[in-house]
Amino acid sequence: MAATMTQKVMYTDTTICTGCRACMVACKQWNQLPYEEPEWTGGYGNRSHFSDKAWRFVRFIEVDDPRPSHKGEVQWLMMSDVCKHCQQAGCLEACPTGAIHRTAWGTVDIDQGICNGCRDCVASCPFGVIAFNADTGRVNKCTFCSDRVPAGMPTACAKTCPTSSIRFGDKEPMLEMARARVKELKAQGFERANLYGDSDILGGLNAFYVLADSPSVYGLPERPELPQRNVNLDSALAIASSVVIGLAALVSFRDQGAGRQG
């Protein structure tokens, strides 16, 4: 069943995000994540980074309104940040056990039964998404509701989003909508409006965004790169060995997977 699924994405139009943070709570509710002491961010946000207990969080950014028609006025940008489910996923590449894998619908998930808590993935994510959970000794992050999606249910955050700022659906139509939205925003005077996560960003993000301003305004890397990209040819041997590790992990996973599938 799952193998025949189409690519699923979350398209977030930040320009209709009201920063209500229902997505954060719905994520915690569905995934049964506990309370975590918040930080004082100086604004409406309660955190500035992901954690093992916060797989999604809203960034609040106060800026001068970028539209010429609103010169001199303030604008309040909000962005519900989450794992981008990159097509070129640093975490997946770094994972020596195969716990981090690509799902049938194109997203990146961590098999908690396989993860050994090595944390190689943590440093390899250009978005700081993955966090180590000291209670379980494993890493975790947004699963793209890998339990809901195969059952035909949208992700918990997208479902609850009051304004449909976060949309769940098939990749191509969602990308079309996003591209059209960027055009619309540009026409409205958001000259730097952009689609963050088309194929130019890490091969495409399965959680992509329409932004009203440059990615850096939102704290996003303009051109995210994977740590592996920085290695030179001298490291080819090391890379080759990682393939071996990957295969070994796969074998071990197959055994576990078979057991779990019964």
Binding site: I16, T18, G43, E62, Q75, M78
Partner: protein
């Protein structure tokens, strides 16, 4: 709310005056939908909020100056040919002539009695014809027409004046005026909707604020049309229902007056005084006697005025409101007190007074889902429990998922929720509490022969008990609210199908006439109906729940059609007259048809003369406002503080009133409280120089009982904070995150400063006025704890309804010693 959230998507312009995105986020999706369809969104708010972030235009307005702004818009509409002339002339009282004795001078209407601080409203009335009907000039030219009086009244509300008073730059005001008034005009082609919430109500002119907004909508011809109307957003799940069911001092269920001793000494006088001569309210005797019958059954007879005396009579009108309760409690007049699902130790204005008052009680009963500041007032910070002799009883309460019942949402939609699980331990529903308390009380009085106890003995209290906790059947309570043909036993009670079946002779019982139809037969609970039309024909989704009255989704929908019963705007048709509709053999042809239940006589033809008799007596074919005696909307309406909204400054204001010599609402309620517990800052106070406004946040709920105790919500906003502009912060040497002390003459609180670009100083009459914003959810119980914002708020009220003025007051802010900053 006159309209329906779903219908907001049909608006061409939306003017939001509340903070809808933050306080009604899920309803706000319809604003976003409208925007996608090309609508423009205006947000009027002193602060730049999460609503402003999605608006096309943010209009910063100094707190407490709404009428100056709305008055400016009305003036703009009247002076620029933006009124929907035909609608205004025929569907409102703009064309009525007003008594020659009525006038207005420098802020005061005719008839003010300075000693009594009240208006004699005798001249605030129509000129009448010999038959008693109002004199009318539908050309609107006569100088005594309401329209001409309004035009003169609001001529002072120029764009320049709006700028001076509200701090809105003239160019921005004109931009907004042009945009919103584009939904009006004699050849109207668009509709606009307006949204409000506590932003308008919590003022000493709260009712007039709302009237001004509604009047603007009437002038533009926006009431009753798709994409029009007034969107009133209520804060609690059941503010609408609790109001319908009259958990309010002045009402009985279904908006009938709670008797006043000197006005309503007996039933005949009550009905005579309370029943108008025209409009649908002429049926009030049937509704009122059906209510008495539902309460007192066989003991309600013609001979005893149907048990009229079993209901208490109020001593006077200016009494018993929530603010009166705590003033009177502090004075020792109240001995016992129930706080059932309310937390006044945090939520009441002048909350220090409320907490001090609780200490004067003999006994206090609190029922809530979690511990509340009210239940724990005896161990609040700084309080010595030994000094407090109040007995406190705390009962744990069940949330909706643990009980059966209905909630009426902000669009009058009654929705049933099912008990998903039994509540744990000794937790019970509030229905269980009141029902079993009632049973005990009835048992305690069972043998009494005293006259004063006979009402308790007569009280019909026969709801079947269900389950292991003897939970009373909520469905049967709803059946009683709906009404039935009176019979002593449930098995013989035949449900009423519509309130038209209510009788004034004691043969029908109905606990809340406006709810009739929700349970039309014993097997059909329409509040539990969850049918969806997926064809797109029924966009208002009449199969989902039941909207009172009569499952109508948009009120005053007759006004969506013109004098001939055709839609004013073809693309915005709602109901219209079908002259060929067959009404059965022998009956004249023609009826109202369309996408909603007509808010009208279903076969009352356009241009028909006023009915001389019958249930719609006094209503003619072009009178869309059938609850009004004259069938038209009241632009001119004699409230206790004036027939036309007039700008007055808040009781605490940074400036003199620039529009008249009258500084504040001349009949505003200002309580005199002992021990200096209600001191007021003077106009332009140097000690309290900043405007303070209070509000709510998406992630918390009102006094916080249902949010500060929930880990996930407490985590979203844990620290209490005050929003302060960068300019003021610089002036006061305050940095983001600093602990500050905010004070008013009533008290002071400590909290963190959130320095932000989103608050900016206003320029008022050439002077800089700073404003501070503080949400009010915090208290001393829960995961998220902080000082009580309402400690800052004064005991002052709107003279019509006594709501407090917590949107606009004066304060000071100073950097505090930086200890214990979490």
């Amino acid at each position: 709310m006159t309209t329906n959230l779903i219908d907001i998507q049909n608006a061409d312009v939306i003017m939001i005056t509340s903070n809808m995105a933050e306080n009604h986020p899920v309803g706000f999706q319809w604003v976003v939908r409208a925007k996608e369809r090309g609508a423009k969104v205006i947000h009027v708010d002193p602060r730049f909020t999460r609503t402003s972030a999605l608006a096309d235009i943010h209009v910063p307005l100094r707190s407490g100056t709404n009428i100056a702004f709305f008055g400016g818009l009305m003036a703009y509409a009247m002076n620029n040919d933006k009124i929907h002339t035909e609608y205004v002339a025929h569907y409102t009282n703009a064309s009525m002539l007003i008594d020659d004795g009525f006038g207005f001078d420098d802020g005061m209407f005719t008839g003010y009695d300075g000693d009594a601080k009240r208006y004699d409203r005798t001249t605030w009335r129509y000129q009448t014809n010999p038959d008693g009907s109002p004199k009318r000039d539908t050309t609107l030219r006569h100088p005594r027409t309401v329209y001409q009086l309004m035009k003169r009244h609001y001529s002072r509300y120029t764009p320049e004046m709006v700028e001076r008073v509200c701090g809105i730059p003239k160019a921005k005001f004109l931009q907004v005026a042009e945009l919103f008034c584009s939904t009006g005009g004699p050849k109207k082609t668009k509709t606009g909707t307006v949204v409000y919430a506590l932003n308008l109500t919590q003022h000493t002119n709260g009712v007039q604020n709302i009237r001004a907004l509604a009047m603007l909508q009437l002038l533009l011809g926006n009431i009753g049309l798709p994409g029009g109307g007034v969107v009133a957003l209520r804060g609690h799940a059941n503010v609408q229902g609790a109001t319908d069911l009259a958990v309010l001092y002045q009402d009985l269920p279904g908006y009938m007056a709670m008797p006043l001793r000197d006005v309503h000494p007996d039933l005949a006088t009550y009905l005579e005084k309370e029943t108008p001569k025209g409009g649908y309210w002429i049926n009030k005797p049937a509704f009122f006697i059906s209510l008495l019958k539902a309460w007192y059954g066989d003991a309600a007879t013609k001979a005893n005025d149907f048990g009229y005396d079993f209901i208490p009579k109020r001593e006077k009108a200016d009494a018993y409101s929530q603010q009166h309760i705590f003033v009177d409690m502090y004075e020792g007049k109240i001995k016992g007190f129930f706080a059932i699902g309310q937390n006044p130790a945090v939520g009441n204005p002048n909350a220090t007074l409320a907490r001090a008052a609780l200490a004067k009680l003999d006994w206090l009963v609190v029922k809530d889902i979690f511990h509340t500041e009210t239940a724990e007032f005896w161990r609040a910070p700084g309080v010595d429990p030994k000094s407090i002799n109040t007995e406190v009883f705390f009962f744990p309460a069940a949330p909706a998922a643990e009980k059966n019942g209905t909630l009426t949402n902000t669009m009058r939609l009654i929705q049933w929720h099912n008990m998903a699980v039994e509540p744990p331990g000794d937790v019970r529903s509030d229905l269980h509490f009141w029902y079993h308390l009632g049973k005990r009380i009835k048992a305690l009085y069972a043998s009494s022969t005293a006259r004063r106890d006979q009402g308790i003995k007569a009280l019909v209290w026969d709801y079947p008990e269900e389950g292991k906790h003897a939970e009373p059947s909520a469905a049967h309570v709803l059946r009683e609210m709906n009404g039935y043909v009176w019979a002593p036993d449930w098995k013989d009670r035949v449900q009423l199908k519509s309130f038209g079946e209510c009788k004034a002779d004691g043969t029908t019982a109905a606990g809340c006439w406006i709810y009739t139809g929700v349970f039309p037969d014993e097997k059909t609970n329409r509040a539990a109906s969850r049918q969806i039309d997926k064809s797109g024909k029924d966009y208002l989704q009449h199969g989902w729940g039941f909207a009172w009255p009569a499952n109508r989704r948009i009120m005053y929908n007759r006004a969506s059609a013109d004098l001939d019963g055709k839609p004013w705007i073809e693309s915005k048709a709602l109901i219209q007259w079908d002259p060929d509709a067959d009404n059965g053999p022998g009956a004249p042809k023609g009826k109202w048809v369309g996408r909603d239940v007509p808010d009208y006589g279903p076969t009352l033809a356009p241009r028909a003369p006023k009915n001389a008799a019958g249930p719609l007596k006094g209503v003619g074919g072009n009178d869309p406002f059938i609850m009004r005696p004259d069938g038209v909307a009241g632009l001119f309406a004699p409230l206790v503080d004036g027939p036309l909204p007039e700008h007055y400054e808040p009781v605490e204001a940074p400036t003199r009133n620039l529009l008249s010599k009258q500084q504040i609402n001349p009949v505003a309620k200002i309580w005199q409280v002992a021990d200096g517990r209600n001191e007021i800052a003077e106009v332009g106070s140097s000690k309290y120089p900043y405007v303070l406004t209070t509000y709510r946040l998406t992630e918390h709920h009102l006094s916080g009982v249902m949010s500060r105790q929930l880990p996930w919500l407490a985590e979203m906003f844990k620290s209490h904070f005050a929003e302060i502009s960068e300019e003021l912060a610089k002036e006061k040497g305050i940095r983001n995150g600093d602990l500050v002390e905010v004070s008013t003459p009533r008290g002071s609180i400590k909290l963190r400063a959130m320095v932000t670009k989103r608050l900016r100083p206003f320029t008022i009459d050439g002077k800089t006025v700073h404003q501070i914003g503080i949400p009010w959810h915090w208290g001393y119980v829960g995961i998220a704890k902080g000082d009580v914002t309402n400690d800052l708020v004064a005991s002052v009220g709107d003279p019509n309804v006594y709501i407090q003025e917590s949107k606009a007051l004066l304060c000071n802010v100073e950097k505090a010693a930086q200890q214990g900053v979490a």
